[in-house]
Assembly symmetry: C2
DNA sequence: TTGACATGCAACCAAATGGTTGCATATAAG
DNA sequence: CTTATATGCAACCATTTGGTTGCATGTCAA
């Protein structure tokens, strides 16, 4: 995975917005994603290309429609690496542990 | 916290390198951080300003020296928010749980 | 087949970005 | 005091970036 492409892709607010939209509703077409934005279709298309190149969205053609699907893996990989690198890993782990336990064993005692 | 400033600050490889260096050795001066880089001092200074504005590094003057300290909070906040947003929280929690358990109870069985 | 719809491609443009150089200022050291 | 060191400020420059418009291509529907 190319870190730099991911960071650069995430650096733009419009692209983060597109990821947001795909997160809310996956598999949207280019036209779908243009709705309500104050950008031309081509501007959106360019952003989507960058997101694809960063491997943050995957596409699938269906006839004349290009469906866009979010791929959370790169974000997660970066987050994992940067968290363990720059943060108190112990605190995070404990916090996650707490949450995991609460979910794994609901009302046990 | 201004998400956009943080994302934009992280978008540049030179700035991520500076964060790396501060992570390895905190509290370095501008001159320290310039050592071995193929950039002018002013270029480095500019990068550091952006990192400061994103609240990723804090500075403290000591005489004529400006000491730079890394601040991991913004990275962590963004990571937290984007993880829960775009990732399978359960998988992450379980993974963290596993690691936490391994650390918490070393060779128990 | 014809027309509407969905997308791609290319040229172009303004603004932001990352870098440089030159000079100024403040502090430490001899 | 003089000099060297550490940093800041401002102007300038080339490239990248985010956007536009115009036109081409491919697919579905009447």
């Amino acid at each position: 995975m190319d870190d730099d492409l991911v960071f650069k892709a995430l650096a733009d607010g419009s692209r983060r917005l597109l990821l947001d939209r795909l997160h809310r509703k996956n598999g949207q077409t280019l036209s779908d994603l243009c709705q309500g934005l104050e950008m031309s279709r081509q501007a959106v298309a360019k952003h989507l290309v960058l997101l694809e190149e960063a491997n943050l969205v995957a596409v699938q053609w269906s006839g004349r429609e290009k469906l866009h699907f979010i791929n959370p893996v790169p974000i997660n990989e970066i987050a994992e690496r940067w968290i363990v690198k720059f943060e108190q890993p112990r605190l995070r782990a404990l916090s996650a542990l707490k949450g995991a336990l609460e979910k794994a064993k609901p009302p046990k005692n």
